[in-house]
């Protein structure tokens, strides 16, 4: 598998996988590091990141955020993305871990 694909796969702790644009996922410093070929992590070869601490519901929301961020890259008056209350704490932990 080539090292630099345009898409990467993110896999949640409960086995859900999400295919997202590499460029939008790389706003996360943690994902960027995992995929950096020069650091030699396995993820950079398979273009796949597994998150043992993030479940499918939360990771789905994270992926939604990647697209939200991409879409509003340079726009003014950005509307807030909807965040379900019941996911707050888990999402906060995930956002902290991924640095997004």
């Amino acid at each position: 598998m080539s090292a630099e694909s345009d898409y990467v796969t993110l896999i949640s702790s409960d086995g859900y996988s999400f295919v997202v644009q590499r460029s939008s996922a790389c706003i996360s410093a943690a994902i960027r590091r995992m995929l950096d070929p020069s650091l030699g992590f396995a993820e950079s070869k398979t273009n796949t990141c597994r998150f043992e601490n993030i479940n499918g519901l939360v990771l789905e929301k994270v992926c939604e955020y990647f697209y939200y961020n991409e879409k509003h890259k340079n726009s003014k008056d950005v509307p807030d993305m909807d965040v379900p209350a019941e996911l707050c704490l888990e999402l906060l932990m995930a956002a902290d871990y991924l640095n997004v």
């Binding site: 790389c26 955020y65 950005v78 209350a85 707050c88 704490l89 906060l92 997004v100």
Partner: protein, 513 residues
Amino acid sequence: MALPSSPPLPFEDPPSSPPLLPTLSDISFTANAGRKRLHSDYGSLSSDPLFSEDTSEFAFHEDEEQPKRKRMVKGPWWNMARRSRHDLRRSMIKKDGFRNVDSGVWMGSDDSLESFGSERSRHEHLAREEVVKQRSRIDATEDDPEGFAARVVQGCVDNGKEMIDLSGIGLTSISSAALLPLHQMIRHAHDDLTQPPSEDQYSCFTPSIQLFLYGNLLSSLPAELFKLRNITVLSLRNNSLEELPAAITQLNRLTELNVAGNRLNHLPWSVLDLLRSTEDVCKVSLRPNPFRVPKVTIDKDSSKLMQLDEQLGDDQHPAASAISKSLEARFLRGRQTLNGGDEDATPKKKRNSREQLIFLAPSRIRFLDSEGSVVRPSMTAHPSGEIDWEAPVLEPQSPPVTQASTTAPSLFELVLRSAQESYDLRDVTALLPLDTPSTVSRALEQAARGVEYGNDQCSTCRKPFVMPRAEWLEYWFHGHDYYNLTQDAILPFKRTACSWACAQVTSVGTAFC
């Protein structure tokens, strides 16, 4: 001396004779003569610290010497219940012995007072009630200034008294609850209570609250204060405030604000609006405070600082003198702009008696990541790792290169905003799992503060946010048009921004009056 009906006294074995107690023969316990006698006896007891001098100044000192005794007999009766509750809490925390919380009398643990305690306290309790009436206000408050403040507030509300004097009573904090009754304050202008007030009568009900909190030890202000929109005069002079909440400008009826003599090293950006508001002129007293001043680091190793108004000396370092000259030039340009508009229009001339505000320079911008840590572009890294708040930056500043959007809020921020709407965040940090990262718990605390005081506003686009993404100081000249540019005429305002895109410093040449 005979003691006719005296109770059996533990004369035989006073374990360690308490130095402050009078000899037993001096005290009469007879029912009729007792009280009067007791009183005069107390007057003669020069060694007794309780009534022999103004205790207010020496309260702490005495507490050290006689903590238990002091607690037992000090203060008016209406403080007793409250103090007992404090005691209860304290003893529950300390688990250091049993105390009878109802009487305030010490039980068991103190040999020197045990045998005398209950009898004496009963008499002293009676004596106290009389003495307390003559005591000065500060005496009455020294044990529980906040409780006293709450009663003063309630008293003023009950009497429709708009001037609330809580000055110099040793307040270290004041709760929102203590100020809450002020929302009920109405001006007594409408006497006929059988008829509803007419429109203009109604406006007479709106009070103009003057709240004097000067001369206390306040280091923070309760959120409720900023919701009391009918405050017109607020004196916080001579307290220990290190930060003035931006919410201060929510008090939009203020005609006088005094924050002199605190520990402020900068002002919130919103105060600039207060200073330049053209309609209702609010008299604002800001100095003295330990405000930051623009300085130039000349020798990085010894971090020797040179202040900019030590200028025009021949021995001045070239770097410092260059910056001094630039600031001076910006100042003169701003003044020229203000005075230039003055020549052709007379109304403006009148306004010129007001103080001028001229933008001088910003500090370096601190760009923050979503969790509030400084993102330091390597080239501006200061040897100490800190960004110097006091060094004025004359060249334009741009954010570090990033792949993330510089306008959209972070996911972290979005979740915090949602949490503010969905949860009661007041005690949330206590409920968090133990392995919660400190960045998360800190952010949730910040979100909880935002709910209480209102979220900070972006100083560029005015959108509210929980976590700032950039912050910097701006130095502005503030003074009359005959003032020169000296340290004393420069104010530091702290700006925050919701996004890196909003981290835009004021443009050079901006000036108001």
